[in-house]
Symmetry: C2
Amino acid sequence: MELGEYLPFWKKLTEAERRTLAGSVQRRRFEKGQVLHHGSDECTGLILTLDGQLRVYTISEEGRELTLYRLLERDLCIFSAPCMVKSILFDVIVEAEQDTEILHIPVDVYRDLMDNSAAVANFTNELMAARFSDVMWLMDQVLNKKIDSRLAAFLLEESGLDESRKLSITHDQIARHMGTAREVITRMLKAFQADGLVKLTRGGIELLNEKRLTELAADSLR
Amino acid sequence: MELGEYLPFWKKLTEAERRTLAGSVQRRRFEKGQVLHHGSDECTGLILTLDGQLRVYTISEEGRELTLYRLLERDLCIFSAPCMVKSILFDVIVEAEQDTEILHIPVDVYRDLMDNSAAVANFTNELMAARFSDVMWLMDQVLNKKIDSRLAAFLLEESGLDESRKLSITHDQIARHMGTAREVITRMLKAFQADGLVKLTRGGIELLNEKRLTELAADSLR
């Protein structure tokens, strides 16, 4: 297990810090659909994705989900350890979207490193800023893009992640990613089908016209 | 100028670091309406508010503004120094909402401190997490609250900041805070007036029924 490959601050750690870290991480496997971190009062620890795909999302009081971002290979999740930074006042849920292998880093071990190493603290800063940037992009989408643009962008992103034009995803799943209602998605997908952009199949969606979907994704509210 | 009062990491700095920092900060005054940081390619430096009030907002490609949060006395703004953390991929604009006195901290000085002091880096982490939490709250509002709830919450917040039930604010200014169109706000304010919640005056809005506004602010989409 080459931790140095995954953690850019590895070189800056002391011998003792490396030993402690290496001795505390645990490799774990999660099946597609399993929830790794439940939000609320949990402080699960840091999650480093080795392979697979994780979805990080919020649930509103009203039960509406919104996907904030995905974690792919080599991504590190700090919001699964909200107790580590006391100004984190929001909850996220982390779920395996594919069979996923992770390294789990205990909170107290990482917190100790952060307290003593500027390199680790600054790495954490960069991580937080990257996620913040993701969420700012999403905010712009939600506020300034029409739902058809957002849906087109979402289908293209999914297609990119799956490396396939045939997506195995339900209307309900899409609605939960996008923070909207299933009926809205179904109506919009039917309109996309009528326009020849997609083909709706049993249990899935096939992208037929990626060029026009890309143009649509770039459209804004006004 | 007691920097130690404003910067919690002051005690953790070396004598030399304190001298460098104290020798580089500059006190500046901005008048109401002045823009301190213009976003895009600027790297203005860190802004520590001594008194007054700053508004931090974004502008979409379409020219639509959205207030992310306010900076009040003792708040430190890092997003006016986006070059400091390379994963910050979004722009904000910082504007004085009142006559405001700040301390300006140059980027290179702060960056040096962050690189060498885990205390400074962790303080920066907490700052970023606090702003991230503000934006997550806002995202929930935008996605899950009806516009009348958001408007009620906004009027109450303004009233709290101004310590007055009479707000000197135009419909256009409210629309720019909330990331929506002026017509939407005007229509909603007229409905509020018809319901006895507010009184629309020349150049302002008076809150008449804070209890019902508070109830309305708590309402969600469904």
